[in-house]
């Protein structure tokens, strides 16, 4: 799965998880930039991503990304 495809899928999932109508998503986006991205909805996001991409994150991975770009890199490496 290419980066572009991962971004698109991530974008769709984030709209549902954070209950947003629109969301601008770039590599530099962080949790502070998105309405409703708190610790609880981060759990929602992790669970939804695991379901949608069919993978499991370990405890170390969950806290390791500083922005969306790093997170997409993580997803890409786990999916390859």
């Amino acid at each position: 799965m290419g980066k572009q495809e991962i971004y698109e899928k991530l974008h769709a999932i984030m709209l549902d998880v954070f209950d947003l109508d629109t969301l601008e998503l770039t590599a530099e986006t962080t949790a502070q930039d998105v309405d409703g991205w708190d610790s609880l909805s981060n759990v929602r996001l992790v669970l939804a991503l695991e379901e949608a991409f069919g993978l499991r994150f370990n405890a170390f991975e969950i806290g390791s990304s500083n922005n969306v770009g790093e997170f997409v890199d993580l997803l890409e490496s786990k999916l390859s």
């Binding site: 769709a12 709209l15 549902d16 998880v17 209950d19 109508d21 609880l40 759990v43 929602r44 992790v46 669970l47 939804a48 379901e51 499991r56 405890a59 969950i62």
Partner: protein
């Protein structure tokens, strides 16, 4: 998809439908699908955000106390409530302190004033220490913490407390020997679960949510999820949330009288294999000799078992009526007989029309019907025309039909009264009365021919289960829809400032049981009618006129000069919008929706009902 097999699959574009649900009003219909945790959670959050401020009249504020992170459960329970016609708002306690939340009057939990509580407690909150000596009571620590929480909740007037059994662990300390020693936690949990069930049977405020049964149905190994517990303290696997939330909502719906009453059955390929009109009595598959034939016997047995516990059965089939009745009369393998069927409709009209007719003849709402039909086209027709009818998805193989009926839990019940067991017979008698009414030339002579006898009494201890049940379940003929717990009702019956009345009605077709309740509050020379409700089984029988006669007589005996009553509109009690004016009450100009009857000029109605008072 989360194993709620009786619900139809979610539409492809579910997410965008949720985002536009406020405009399209589709919240309840979206909730009627088999949703994943993500979908259910999203629906619940969007519902709360968009329409959460306008509460329904009989809304439930559910206080949720328990183990671990409960916030992820709340939207799913609220969305599952929509599936059952309930407006549930969940208030969760603080993380990890259910006892403090219950006891502290300023806790967010108590400030929200819940009118129902779910104690989602497990072994991570309740202490189940290992035994110290041989005669050590290993459950006493859990018992005392549990009691303290329950007492604090009851002290605040909450009368509906759902308590859950604790799902067993996959831990196996000694292996097969675990069941024999208190050293094994699972043995202590089993004993706790049994004790809890017994307490629920004795205490009307406690209602059992058998989470251990749910977990064992779907598989104990998949219930607790250690990764999710360590990541976010999720009390059980989030994939199980849709099932758990459905059962919470289902029980609350039963408390609120929204369980279904009638199972409507199709015939061809639902009760037997093949088409009676084409294959004939010799050709249909039923009974010993083929796996298919045995599967249909099992379907009929399930229906009969439900009928025997008080569920009304009806038939709705596209057939010539004579042909459709034939197997009931002459097929030796039929389990169901015509006697078991309250209403039998076989014709060529749309099934939705016939379902409306069945509800009308039984005097119940279409939202009390479940319709079992093997044909997806018929199911779609009914779902489209009458969305409030429950129409379960059925598998290809009829061997799977009974399990769908059991899993869907349409007839959930929270207490069994003697009346429940007789219910199916009463509805059947009702349909027969209906037929008699159609024959009678005028209403007056029809009512006389019923030979009605009413037995009146104040609320009595021995009838308290039925009385509380009626108060909490009656939705249509209910002037104020005020809900009281059994404990509150028991207190009312002893309150000298209140006048309570229960009415039992029998007629030539049988005993209807207790069908009407009135509660009046004395205030000087006025009796304020706090509650007046009646089972729809006895509609249009002039019972309300007889009851008013009796109320007036009792009020006069107490030196009362007038009765006052209010009509509080809900989505389901339009039936009684004109109840008071029709009985001769005059509107109170300064209070719209309130009505007054001066007793000085009251002339009794004296309908043809023989009245006596219970000893």
């Amino acid at each position: 998809m989360s194993g709620l097999n009786w619900l139809s699959p979610a539409p492809e574009d579910f997410g965008s439908r949720v985002r536009s649900a406020a405009e399209s009003g589709a919240f309840a219909s979206l909730a009627a699908h088999d949703l994943s945790f993500q979908q259910l959670d999203q629906l619940g959050r969007r519902f709360r955000r968009n329409v959460g401020k306008d509460r329904a009249h009989d809304a439930i504020t559910l206080g949720l106390l328990g183990s671990g992170t409960l916030d992820l459960l709340a939207p799913s329970i609220e969305a599952s409530g929509l599936r059952h016609g309930l407006d549930i708002r969940v208030v969760t306690g603080e993380y990890g302190q259910p006892l403090q939340d219950a006891v502290d009057p300023r806790s967010g939990f108590n400030v929200a004033e819940p009118n129902a509580v779910l104690l989602s407690l497990d072994h991570r909150t309740l202490p189940f220490p290992k035994p110290n000596g041989s005669d050590d009571d290993t459950l006493s620590a859990a018992r005392s913490q549990f009691n303290a929480i329950v007492q604090a909740i009851k002290a605040r007037g909450v009368g509906v407390i759902l308590v859950q059994t604790v799902p067993l662990l996959s831990e196996s300390l000694f292996g097969h020997y675990d069941r024999q020693t208190e050293l094994a936690l699972n043995r202590r949990l089993r004993r706790w679960n049994d004790e809890l069930a017994e307490r629920c049977a004795r205490d009307d405020a406690l209602i059992l949510l058998d989470a251990e049964d749910l977990a064992s149905r779907v598989g104990r190994e998949g219930w607790y999820n250690p990764v999710q517990w360590q990541m976010a303290k999720l009390p059980f696997d989030q994939q199980r949330v849709p099932l758990y939330a459905e059962h919470v909502a289902r029980i609350l719906a039963a408390v609120r009288g929204r369980s279904r009453k009638c199972l409507v059955l199709d015939l061809d390929n639902t009760l037997w294999g093949g088409v009676i009109g084409d294959d004939g009595i010799e050709g249909i598959q039923l009974g010993n000799g083929s796996p298919e034939g045995e599967a249909f016997v099992a379907v009929q047995r399930a229906a009969l078992a439900l009928k025997e516990r008080g569920v009304v059965l009806a038939i709705c089939s596209k057939n010539e009526e004579g042909t459709a009745r034939e197997p009931f009369q002459s097929h030796s393998e039929m389990v169901l007989g015509l006697d078991d069927i309250a209403v039998f409709i076989a014709n060529w009209r749309p099934k939705s029309d016939n379902l409306r007719e069945i509800a009308r003849r039984l005097n119940i709402g279409t939202d009390a019907l479940v319709f079992l039909d093997d044909n997806p086209a018929e199911r779609a027709q009914v779902r489209g025309a009458i969305p409030e009818v429950a129409v379960p998805e059925l598998p290809e193989d009829p061997a799977g039909y009974p399990d769908v009926i059991w899993q869907a839990g349409y007839f959930e019940t929270v207490a069994i009264s003697a009346d429940d067991m007789a219910r199916a017979e009463q509805y059947k008698a009702n349909a027969e009365r209906e037929a008699l009414a159609a024959e009678a030339s005028d209403l007056g002579s029809f009512l006389k021919s019923l030979e009605m006898r009413a037995v009146l009494a104040p609320f009595r201890d021995q009838d308290m289960v039925r009385v509380a049940q009626l108060i909490n379940k009656t939705n249509q003929f209910n002037l104020t829809t005020r809900r009281y717990t059994q404990a509150e009702v028991a207190a009312m019956s002893k309150d000298p400032g209140l006048y309570t009345l229960q009415v039992r009605l029998a007629d030539c077709f049988g005993d209807n049981g207790i069908i009407c309740l009135v509660i009046c509050r004395a205030s000087g020379e006025t009796w304020e009618i706090d509650s007046w409700l009646m089972s729809c089984r006895v509609l249009k029988r002039d019972v309300e006129r007889m009851v008013l006669d009796q109320l007036v007589e009792a009020a006069r005996a107490h030196g009362v000069a007038r009765l006052e009553g209010a009509y509080i509109e809900t989505s389901r009690n339009g039936l009684v919008a004109d109840h008071y004016p029709e009985l001769g009450f005059a509107p109170i100009v300064e209070h719209p929706g309130r009505w007054r009857l001066d007793l000085a000029d009251y002339v009794p109605n004296n309908p043809p009902i023989a009245v006596s008072w219970a000893a």
